[in-house]
């Protein structure tokens, strides 16, 4: 592996972004070309990623090199440098692999959109930022990527900027992420104050050697890791900052698949996995685990009652991200990242199939108006079914392996967490198959004129679905066979610290329990929804609470948004801005106008009056020099 390879890997999407972004005007007439340029850029990255992967896999020492010095000061230096180890290559393969398929899919999905080139420019920029995030060998570069993906997320959520709900969702995502980013920044500052560097290698070494300045006394690492986790909460949509992710579904569906399911939202998990050394030393994993498992459960309950297929998938994503945090929180870093990988495939697949359904149903999202699509869209149906079985933990499909590993590790940490996780697994299977039964089975409830146009998507869309379905089904088996002795654990062995509590108990027993729970969820969904659509009106108080998502948005609005709004309106705008600032500005102007009003009388226009004042000056100066000088 060489530095050149990494640079090509990184720069290819940037070039794609520049071509589509700057020359979009000329590409407009030829949208196919624009789309394929975008896809090709990611394909180049994918090929480089595969090369990097084989290099790491063949046992090369982890790559950690500096390209150039970015910011230098007297006592510090920040470098543009790359670190490529097993964790990085796994992330690279996910980003570029899923990213490439989604680019291809987008060529068909975005067909005819007036913002076609803009879309691919943003998408390429996103891939570029995401690559920076995972390639950086220090926290500052990670932060650059972190902000870059946030920006692209904002741009793509609000892609259809003439739709108010889309721009609102974009702003919501940006602002909520900002809160998390603030935590990330503070965490970074804390680390820098303590260690004087942000490079992973030297920072982790110093932390393990206990060789650093104590910024907050003995709890430096605890505070730093918790602050970093705040950043992860924002970016990866955990309690209490998850509210932006469901709204982010306003963006184009491939964006939801790529950014809001497969890659960007998992940046928080990657960050914690990358900082595993610090979390181990600070013992803050438990906080991460609890937030994760609570989010998993909480989001799953909300997903039970939603009727918008993309929202169900969004809450499902929040829930699955909770699982990942649960995994990294209990010290099973490899398992958490493994779930990240499998989730990227099956959730990306499901979002794309949801897009395929929307494509066929004239952008209808309410599954109560669907039903019976199985016959008309067989490929979409089968691929979605594979994705749903994978997430539900159906034996030997990919979600089964990764989720089971996490739950197994959780048992070793705390049985309570394990139980909550298990219940969530049941809920997951239930709501996912509720979605399937209502959408693809039963009678068609669509408007007749929409129903008559339902058709299978074009090849450029279903081929990526089919390709994604393969890893969704098999990747768990290939990489996860053997639990903690699996290929994946072996591959990532050098990256993560040794788990501090070995998972105990019989692995096969845990697998059996998980399978039974998943199958029970599916069966329960079959009982309830195979024949009828969900009722329109919530039937009881609990149902109503869930359908309204625990009123979290309303609570945030009342407790946070409105006070800030009112404060801004009355104090900042009317008092500070209008009263004080404008008062000062206008006051200065008024004083000058008043003085000017007096002085203008001196401007008589009589030249002689001017000369008189000049002579007066001469007389006074001479007098001063002659008699007083």
């Amino acid at each position: 592996m060489s530095l050149e390879l990494i640079v090509v890997l990184l720069v290819a999407p940037l070039v794609g972004f520049l071509i589509n972004g700057l020359l979009g005007k000329w590409l407009k007439g030829n949208e196919k070309l624009s789309g394929w340029i975008g896809a090709l850029a990611v394909l180049i990255s994918l090929i480089c990623s595969i090369i990097a992967f084989t290099s790491v896999h063949s046992g090369a020492t982890p790559f950690d090199e500096t390209l150039y010095e970015w910011i230098t000061g007297e006592t510090f230096a920040f470098n543009i440098g790359f670190r490529v180890d097993a964790l990085t290559t796994v992330m690279l393969l996910v980003i570029t692999g899923v990213g490439f398929l989604i680019h291809v899919y987008s060529i068909g999905y975005m067909h005819g959109d007036p913002g076609y080139t803009r879309y691919f420019a943003y998408l390429n920029l996103f891939v570029f930022a995401m690559l920076i995030l995972v390639l950086g060998n220090n926290y500052l570069m990670m932060f650059v990527g972190w902000e870059g993906v946030g920006l692209c997320s904002y741009l793509l959520i609000g892609f259809w900027y003439d739709k108010k709900s889309a721009t609102d969702a974009g702003k919501k995502a940006f602002i909520v992420n900002r809160i998390g980013d603030f935590g990330f920044l503070l965490g970074m500052f804390t680390l820098f104050a303590a260690f004087g560097t942000l490079d992973f290698a030297s920072l982790f070494d110093a932390a393990e050697a206990d060789n650093f300045q104590k910024v907050f006394g003995a709890s430096t690492l605890v505070i730093a890791t918790l602050l970093l986790f705040v950043g992860a909460i924002g970016k990866s949509a955990q309690i209490p900052l998850y509210v932006w992710l469901p709204d982010a579904m306003e963006g184009p569906t491939p964006v939801s698949a790529l950014i809001h399911a497969a890659t960007m939202v998992t940046a928080g998990v990657y960050m914690i996995a990358r900082s595993a050394v610090l979390y181990e030393l600070a013992h803050t994993g438990e906080v991460v685990a609890w937030i994760g498992v609570l989010t998993a459960f909480f989001a799953a309950t909300i997903a039970l009652t939603q009727n918008d297929i993309k929202r169900i998938l969004a809450y499902s994503t929040v829930s699955q991200l909770g699982y990942m945090f649960l995994g990294v929180g209990v010290g099973a870093y490899a398992s958490g990242v493994f779930h990240l990988v499998t989730h990227a495939f099956f959730k990306g697949l499901m979002f794309l199939t949801a897009g395929s359904v929307m494509h066929a149903m004239a952008n209808e999202l309410d599954m109560r108006k669907m039903g019976g699509l199985r016959a008309k869209m067989p490929i979409t149906h089968w691929t979605f079914l594979i994705g749903a079985l994978a997430i539900a933990g159906f034996p030997f499909l990919s979600g089964f392996w990764s989720k089971d590993e996490i739950l197994h590790s959780a048992w070793g940490s705390s049985p309570i967490i394990y139980v909550i996780g298990l219940v969530t697994a049941f809920l997951t299977a239930f709501y996912m198959f509720r979605l399937i039964f209502v959408t693809f089975y039963g009678e068609s409830r669509a408007d007749p004129d929409v129903a008559s146009h339902v058709h299978e998507s074009p090849p450029v869309m279903w081929i990526p679905l089919a390709i994604l379905a393969i890893p969704s089904a098999l990747i768990g088996l290939l990489l996860g066979w053997g639990g903690h002795e699996s290929w994946f654990h072996h591959f990532t062995k050098g990256v993560f610290p040794e788990a501090h509590h070995e998972a105990s108990g019989n692995v096969l027993l845990f697998m059996a329990i998980s399978s039974v729970v998943g199958l029970a969820g599916i069966a329960f969904a079959w009982m309830r929804y195979s024949k009828r659509a969900p009722s329109d009106e919530p039937t009881n108080a609990l149902h109503k609470l869930l359908a309204n998502k625990y009123y979290i948005d309303e609570i945030y609005n009342a407790l946070i948004v409105q006070p800030i709004k009112n404060g801004s309106h009355f104090i900042l705008w009317q008092l500070v801005d209008n009263g004080i600032i404008d008062g000062i500005v206008n006051g200065v102007a008024a004083i000058i106008r008043f003085i000017g009003g007096i002085l203008r009388r001196l401007q008589t226009g009589l030249v002689q009056a001017y000369i008189v004042s000049m002579v007066l000056g001469i007389v006074l100066f001479l007098a001063y020099y002659l008699f007083f000088g």
Partner: protein, 99 residues
């Protein structure tokens, strides 16, 4: 004669010119007063030149006169055009600079 008497005379002539510039409203007369001031300066130049026993002061008088001639030509041309436009050369009435 002592140098200082010439200089005193020069100062008085100069001041007379200044007063004229300040109090007269006829642009032509103001111009004449300026010539008066230049002449007063010339007188001082020549007096000091003699006192120092060298000719440089007189060379400067020559320059002053050249500049004065140019200035009079331009100034009178301006006065003529102002008069053509406004039918007056009263400086009090030419007050478009009034703020």
């Amino acid at each position: 004669m002592e140098l200082q008497y010439y200089l005193i005379l020069s100062a008085l002539l100069f001041t007379t010119g200044v007063i004229g510039v300040l109090i007269r409203r006829n642009a032509i007369i103001i111009f004449m007063c300026i010539e008066l001031m230049l002449n007063a300066a010339n007188l001082a130049f020549v007096a000091i030149s003699r006192s120092l026993g060298e000719a440089t002061g007189q060379v400067f008088v020559f320059f002053v006169m050249t500049v004065a001639a140019a200035e009079v030509a331009i100034g009178l041309a301006i006065i003529v055009s102002v008069f053509k436009h406004r039918q007056t050369i009263n400086v009090d009435e030419v007050n478009s600079l009034k703020g």
